[in-house]
């Protein structure tokens, strides 16, 4: 087995359960389940999570698929605050609100302020910008100077926050647009191939299901620039379920929602709220954490559910 093959194999294992430990919250008790060890029979090392991804909180949603989205977000926050090794960063990958209303943003901001982490980063979803973005940017526009895209570094990892929910073309997928792609080129220019990259947006940056608009039309231009890096983790929300792909050095991962699940691609007329049995719901809501092993710089994704 050559190095590249074994690295791919290792990454595949990591993505299907993490080099870390999966903690399931069961009856209020955090129970560790070592999925990677169970899958391979090898012992794994638990590292400190680098950041935590929270997505699709949909504050303002009140239909039967989950009449208490504030409650499930609070549960999620309690779960994070109870983690022994808390990540420094939380990234919210959009659809903070359901209808872009000011009061929904205010409620969300108030709830998220209970997170005991030092930094909260956000990118909007299409539900957050139905007013073309005024309410979102008023509250969360500062890091990007109201552009919606920016980058930052944490623990040696380069984070790129992209926006792909403005300026939809009719019938089209999400779009980054020429200005953002030109900015990304400049942001990556001169950066060492060995620096781990985490890039995120709300809608999938890879096409998961075109008929439902689950993709980003011009993201290939971004991937062409990112392919030279040794470790690239591509994250999104939007589809309220986990879908993963590994391609070369790039790991693609979509997060669960904290609010309600959605059907799998193509199941039904469109991507609306999925009503499931009340006992099943907590198993379909959750968050993702990501840890990095320092040598080699590889990413380990772990998903947690509310039950």
């Amino acid at each position: 087995m050559n190095d590249e093959t074994s690295r791919r194999g290792a990454l595949k294992c990591l993505a299907f359960g993490g080099a870390g430990t999966l903690f399931a919250l069961s009856g209020g008790i955090v129970t560790p389940i070592n999925l990677a060890a169970a899958a391979t029979g090898k012992t794994t090392i638990t590292g400190k999570p680098l950041f935590l991804q929270i997505s699709d909180t949909h504050i303002g949603f009140n239909k039967e698929a989950n009449p208490d989205v504030q409650g499930t977000l609070k549960q999620t926050i309690d779960f994070v605050n109870a983690m022994k090794e808390k990540p420094a960063l939380v990234i919210h990958t959009g659809d903070i609100t359901h209808l872009s209303k000011a009061e929904e943003f205010d409620t969300a901001a108030q709830l998220l302020s209970a997170l005991k982490v030092s930094e909260l980063h956000t990118t909007p979803g299409e539900h957050d910008v139905t007013d073309t973005g005024a309410a979102y940017f008023e509250r969360f526009g500062k890091p990007s100077n109201n552009k919606g895209y920016y980058s930052f570094d944490s623990n040696g990892v380069h984070f790129i926050s992209l926006i792909n929910v403005l300026n939809f073309k009719p019938g089209g997928l999400g779009a980054l647009g020429d200005d953002q792609i030109a900015w990304l080129k400049g942001d990556l220019n001169g950066r060492s191939d060995s620096q781990p990259i985490v890039v995120y947006a709300h809608m999938p940056l890879w096409t998961i299901y075109e008929p439902w608009g689950w993709g980003t039309g011009d993201a290939d231009q971004a991937f062409a620039m990112l392919r030279r890096f040794g470790s690239v983790t591509v994250l999104n929300g939007h589809i309220h379920q986990i879908v993963r792909k590994i391609e070369g050095n790039m790991i693609f991962h979509t997060a669960r929602s904290t609010a309600y699940p959605q059907p799998t691609a193509g199941d039904g007329p469109g991507p609306g709220p999925l009503k499931v049995d009340a006992a099943l719901l907590p198993k379909m809501l959750g968050i993702t954490t990501l840890g990095f092993a320092p040598h080699p710089a590889s990413a380990a994704l772990t998903d947690y559910t509310l039950a």
Partner: protein, 105 residues
């Protein structure tokens, strides 16, 4: 048995409550992630009322910027009066696969 005078009073009340527009607004619903009907023709000066029947919010956004609704939750409506003739293409900005047309004569 209801007295005849009371019957007349009731009828008068019901008539007073019923809307009596000069002309009926064209109706478009959003259902199962589609606009229905997808093509509507009206005369200038007339209005279209959109109603979202889905549990998922939708919007009504003109491609050329002529009109734009807020996010419409289930059973919310949006009304726009078309002053000028033309062909107005529009979509849902949350689900841009949803496209339809209003033709104003």
């Amino acid at each position: 048995m209801i007295p005849a005078t009371l019957k007349h009073a009731l009828l008068a009340t019901l008539l007073a409550l019923a809307p009596l527009p000069a002309f009926a607004d064209a109706q478009v619903v959003m259902k199962n992630f589609d606009f229905s009907p997808m093509a509507v023709t009206i005369k200038h000066g007339e209005a279209v009322v959109w109603k979202n029947l889905d549990g998922e919010p939708h919007t009504v956004v003109s491609v050329d910027g002529a009109f734009r609704s807020a996010a419409l939750d289930q059973n919310d409506t949006y009304k726009f009066t078309f002053a000028k003739p033309g062909v107005y293409k529009y979509l849902c900005s949350i689900h841009p696969k949803m496209m339809a047309t209003i033709t104003v004569q």
